[in-house]
């Protein structure tokens, strides 16, 4: 019943995008941490988390994402998120994730804004 994530990294200029396939739950922790470490190995200063359309995100997944946000804050990296449904945009706003990560409608608008 444990879900797995496949996370591919794509570099778009100064932005490293993490394409996160699968639901984001507490089981995502090792996958997201590894992807974040790989992005750091590429010298990422700006990260974009691209969540799969229709992905389920629960409080365990929110906790994992907050751990990543804390690390990016310590490492002075910019982090943004895209691919969220309206419901999860609302949830991320409720829990305060939007104080630390801007949310964009789509990948193109995120990369354009982050590259500016």
């Amino acid at each position: 019943m444990q879900n797995k994530n496949e996370i591919a990294l794509e570099k778009h200029g100064s932005v490293v995008m993490l394409n996160i396939q699968g639901d984001i739950t507490s089981f995502s922790e090792p996958f997201l941490n590894q992807a974040y470490s790989d992005a750091n190995d590429q010298g990422a200063e700006k990260l974009l988390l691209n969540v799969e359309d229709g992905a389920y995100i629960n409080s365990g997944g929110i906790a994992v994402l907050i751990q990543i946000l804390a690390q990016t804050k310590k490492n002075s990296q910019q982090i943004c998120i895209t691919g969220l449904s309206d419901h999860f945009k609302k949830i991320f706003n409720m829990v305060g994730i939007t104080k630390f990560a801007d949310i964009y409608e789509d990948v193109d608008s995120a990369i354009t804004a982050m590259s500016g």
């Binding site: 019943m1 444990q2 879900n3 739950t25 507490s26 089981f27 389920y56 629960n58 409080s59 365990g60 929110i62 906790a63 907050i66 751990q67 946000l69 804390a70 804050k73 449904s85 309206d86 419901h87 949830i91 409720m94 829990v95 305060g96 994730i97 104080k99 630390f100």
Partner: protein, 174 residues
């Protein structure tokens, strides 16, 4: 109308496939007397099974004409209450069960999530993300926080027979 699902299989079938089948195939007939309508789902105490309760609750709410936004709210509160029941109430015991019951009346869905534990004791404070990120604070309490933000009414109490129950009400319009 009462309808009970017992979900406790051990197959390796993809949970996404199961959910898709449930969401596509679950069809609950509109009862003649809506006040008597209820559904109960008994879940194995295993993280991931909350998604089955989410699928059932979504079908239930759709039957009564709830909007897509409110159905998403319902799915989240059902999932978070079930996860809390599995992790904190039943303390991860594999032989324990979580019962999720849904009832509808007067434009409101009432959800009861029952575990076999002792209850939440002292409710944790609302999570403070700034403190977590800037001061390495503990990451906890997000499940209860989401339930209380999204539901119109929440109560925690001991079950009359055994265990602990979280009762939540969600109105058709927020």
């Amino acid at each position: 109308m009462a309808c009970t699902f017992f979900l406790d299989w051990r197959s390796s079938v993809s949970i996404r496939k199961v959910i898709k089948v449930l969401e596509d195939r679950i069809s609950i007939k509109m009862p003649e007397n809506q006040a008597d309508s209820s559904v109960e789902i008994i879940l194995a105490n295993q993280i991931g099974y909350e998604r089955l309760a989410m699928a059932c609750s979504a079908s239930f709410a759709k039957m009564f004409g709830f909007s897509k936004d409110r159905i998403e709210d319902l799915k989240t509160i059902v999932a978070e209450a079930a996860i809390n029941a599995m992790q904190h109430g039943n303390k991860g015991r594999r032989d324990a069960k979580v019962r999720v019951s849904l009832g509808y009346s007067d434009g409101t869905i009432r959800v009861r999530v029952t575990d076999e534990g002792e209850g939440i004791g002292v409710k944790p404070p609302n999570p403070n993300i700034s403190k977590i990120i800037e001061e390495d604070g503990a990451i906890c309490g997000f499940g209860l926080f989401l339930i209380e933000q999204l539901a119109d009414q929440v109560e925690y109490r001991k079950n009359a027979h055994k265990g602990h129950v979280v009762e939540m009400a969600l109105r058709m319009k927020a």
